[in-house]
Symmetry: C2
Amino acid sequence: MVSTLADVARAAGVHPGTASKALNPDSRHLVAALTVQRVLEIAAELDYQPNSLARGLRTSRSFTIGLLVPDLTNPLFPPIVRGVEEVLGAAGYSALIVNTDNDAKKEMQLFMTLLNRRCDGFILATAFRHDPVVEAIAKRNIPAVLVNRSTESHLLPAVAGDEVTEVRVAIEFLISLGHRRIAHVAGPQDLSTGYIRRRAFLAAIKEKGLDPKECPVAIASGFNEEAGKDASKQILSRLGKRPTAILAANDQLAIGVIDSLTSFGMKCPRDISVIGFNDIPRMDRINPSLTTFALPKHEMGVKAAQILKAWIDGTSIPEPSTIHLECPLVIRESTGPAPA
Amino acid sequence: MVSTLADVARAAGVHPGTASKALNPDSRHLVAALTVQRVLEIAAELDYQPNSLARGLRTSRSFTIGLLVPDLTNPLFPPIVRGVEEVLGAAGYSALIVNTDNDAKKEMQLFMTLLNRRCDGFILATAFRHDPVVEAIAKRNIPAVLVNRSTESHLLPAVAGDEVTEVRVAIEFLISLGHRRIAHVAGPQDLSTGYIRRRAFLAAIKEKGLDPKECPVAIASGFNEEAGKDASKQILSRLGKRPTAILAANDQLAIGVIDSLTSFGMKCPRDISVIGFNDIPRMDRINPSLTTFALPKHEMGVKAAQILKAWIDGTSIPEPSTIHLECPLVIRESTGPAPA
DNA sequence: ACCCTTACAACAATCGATTGTCATTGGTCA
DNA sequence: TGACCAATGACAATCGATTGTTGTAAGGGT
């Protein structure tokens, strides 16, 4: 069916080992130019393509990377994946992509299957703040880079947004619009994106001298619209004055917040301003369009892939620290002046 | 670092071949129960995991499938991918996913690299009506299933929406709203999704006795918003009476159509009703929310994967014909009664 | 008591490519 | 002319698992 190295060697009248050397640019100098040419021609003629399994077995380099994402249908991740593939694909790597659904058990299990496939490296968009998979990777000293999320213990390099700055910018922006009572719908606290943004929110509130009692926080059970709606309702049902702005830990939560308003007879941005995170597609077209931070998703993927590639190649062993990329605030209709 | 079969065999005091048989449920009966148990225990103790490269090389089964999509950031595809992984992942397969960007050359090249990785089968969401990759696959008799798109020559099984029916339903629905001048923004004609829908549109117009001269068609250069906008402008700039409804070949085109209206001083649905295809996420939240056909994306992935799995397993060799899944019309704000 | 079957496990070949070692040839230099 | 060296390519071991073949001992039947 497909021709093997032995086929090429036979047709060229040389030993398979010689054919291998002729085909491989690095060892080609060990073979006479004439022989190289003959082998090359016959290889082309037979449409020879090396069997990556055999090569991988021998060289223990599979030119495959494992890419773990929580859920591809979350529009945050495809651009990251594309950034990764752009860099790694050009270098000859293919990506095995799996969805973990934020399930730690599933994550570990899928990681093990990828490991058995002898992936040369991993990119994880799935990290929990305490993540057994990350620990397993670090212990085995396997090249891997985190993206979007980071772990509490800095075992691996990570690429993420500059969340602390973003939260501060959001609060400053809301204050500039006259808001004083600002609430936060936080994401799950076992994820860095949920935890760091909440801590940054509390810090920013304090820093700006706002009254913490009037700046409540509700923790959503997931990064989805339903959870955002629930958390928002918690905040709005509290006794005392309602906030005039809500910072949500991502766009889906923000949408949930906006959805929750009608049942309180309120409207965004008239009564409540809402800010999200990430700027997933079409946030400019929903109603009201959403003010949010434009996470450089593609760039994050590219950056993470570059670090991983250099690590695998042995060009540079990265520091296990987080690279923070800047995210511009995109101002749209969901934010406006605080009601009088 | 990681333990091999030889390690397990040595520790258990048996020959590697015996250990292999003990570990493999199918050949386990060839080994004494006591020995099986000992091998199993030691394997667990050493955390033995078979090297899939070695196994794949020997058995020529990699338990890997190749998944070609045009662009993961198009929200149509992630749900399909998840459907595929749900079925195939459970059966022990991992998926190598690549983006072709509707570039035939890239498609062929990526296919070849996947082929060298000895994928057991392929799922293609990338097919052109005439597709060299599909031909190459069919010629080599490799298990593969098309999804969402089909080819002109039915070389491989395909899973797609029931486009002809959908188009007819759309036209009937618009007629029932009083529309008589209905235009079509078609997709690229080298894709079945562009071609079939256009042909179905022409057929439905004829069938319903509408005047073809008042039911113009414009062909968009791609399935994106910009191309939809351009095509729509072509239609609206024509001499004569403008259409009161436009059927777009997918949701992104429909959005482009809606965007184009302002420059003509028109509004959807007041002046023009718009219908899309696929019901990608958040079409219920844009303004106006979009009437469209809810393509069962996840189910398509599941179906395609099931067919592929059965084929690979040799359980059943599928007919190279297209399975059409039903798509309900989701009626939203973008369609309304024809203006008087 | 002998033959035959059965159960078991060791053995070895194999998948396809890579790579270090070794043998041969021809040429250079003293 | 003889020693030496460079160039070349054949050879063989190897990666790790699978699987058909072979050898051996125990057990059953007559």
